[in-house]
């Protein structure tokens, strides 16, 4: 984003001005010009969040094989910042439920989901995680959305790696539109809005 040509810009802090020439406004100094961008807090937060979505690989069935293929070099989920598969829910941002969720496993999936810190998202990968799939059965949960909120459903049985990547990109677009700052600091946002009103 190019710097605004705006006379209302505040001067840079003293420790910056001491390093640059005093003869011209610091924001236009060639030494720092390329290192400063102006943006909204929401846009900056969303940009950082969506490009480092660390997955919780909840591989439960054959979809997990495609999930592994997505992570491997041919499809390379690292292109989207999601290569860091974390097996500790405390370090994860997005749970990829890849496979058939049996009732025996269902509450364990929910517990792991609840151990993930906010903000968190969920991708239901494949027919089984989305709806129970072909398992209209006594033993299979009919869609993980019965237990936790799902952001993106990926169809397929199992989906191709491209489909999962498309789902990840859709999740990135969804994150891009979130009101991150307001969600993070509701009290501060209320105060600021009051002060601005």
């Amino acid at each position: 984003m190019p710097p605004h040509d705006d006379s209302s810009l505040r001067p840079p802090p003293a420790n910056l001005t001491s390093q640059v020439s005093n003869s011209q406004p610091a924001a236009y100094d060639s030494k720092i010009e390329g290192n400063v961008i102006f943006t909204r807090v929401d846009a900056a937060m969303n940009w950082m969040r969506k490009n480092s979505l660390w997955p919780m690989p909840m591989g439960l069935a054959c979809c997990a094989i495609e999930l592994m293929a997505t992570a491997a070099s041919r499809f390379d989920i690292a292109r989207f910042g999601s290569e860091v598969m974390r097996f500790s829910p405390r370090q994860c941002d997005v749970m990829i439920v890849a496979g058939t969720v049996t009732y025996k496993m269902a509450l364990a999936v929910k517990r792991i989901w609840e151990q993930m810190p906010e903000p968190k998202w969920c991708i239901a990968m494949g027919a089984c995680a989305s709806s129970g799939g072909m398992y209209r059965s006594y033993a299979v949960l009919q869609g993980i959305d019965q237990l936790l909120p799902v952001d993106v459903y990926v169809s397929g049985c199992p989906p191709r790696p491209e489909a999962l990547l498309e789902g990840l990109m859709r999740l990135q677009r969804k994150i891009d539109g979130e009101q991150s700052f307001a969600a993070q600091n509701p009290a501060l946002t209320r105060e600021m809005n009051k002060a601005l009103a």
Binding site: Y103, L107, M134, R136, S137, Y138, A139, Q142
Partner: protein, 191 residues
């Protein structure tokens, strides 16, 4: 060992314990009484050389009496022969002797039958459910158990709900026509 030799040779050790014996496409099936199971199994293992228990399965002939069957698939490593032992279990009895001490693999096979069909095994060392969780109240492989399941709840362990069948079960049709004709659709078996 040919089929005829096998069929003749199992007759002598098992003797009167055989209620009936059938041959079908090279497979020998021997039906025995449940109270003779351990004797017959021991003879099969020690005298006939069936040292390997491939599988134990159970059948629910719902509406018949006796209702259940248990099927033991034996294999002889030395002779390369199969033998199938079958016995009938009434609903009132609901139990047979365990053979885990003859073939250790029977331990988990018998647990699976207990889990899915609700039949019990006398003297089994560890008769717990193996697939479903302890406390699940039903036996899902019985014919009177609905395909879609039944609701149940065990707090902090697991719950189940009946699956929406949407006119199912979904079954394929054997056909050489297009995929559209063959693919799984809701076809009620009684229609």
């Amino acid at each position: 060992m040919s089929e005829a030799v096998l069929a003749g040779s199992i007759g002598s050790p098992l003797g009167a314990r055989i209620l009936s014996q059938t041959e079908f496409r090279g497979e020998t099936t021997v039906i025995i009484a449940p109270e003779n199971l351990r004797e017959a199994a021991t003879l099969c293992r020690d005298q006939l050389g069936f040292d390997y228990l491939l599988d134990i399965s159970s059948v629910d002939n719902f509406g018949d009496d006796p209702r259940f069957e248990i099927v033991y698939e034996l294999y002889s490593m030395g002779n390369g022969r199969h033998l199938r032992l079958k016995l009938a279990v009434t609903e009132e009895a609901g139990a047979v002797d365990s053979v885990f001490d003859l073939w250790p693999t029977a331990n988990w096979h018998e647990r699976e039958i207990f889990d899915m069909m609700g039949l019990r095994f006398h003297n089994h060392p560890d008769l717990r459910r193996i697939l479903m969780w302890d406390g699940y109240p039903f036996f899902p492989l019985r014919k009177d158990f609905p395909l879609e399941g039944k609701p149940s709840a065990l707090p902090d362990v697991a719950f189940t709900q009946a699956a929406p069948m949407e006119g199912g079960p979904f079954v394929t049709l054997p056909s050489t026509a297009t995929t559209k004709d063959r693919e799984p659709r809701a076809r009620r078996p009684d229609l």
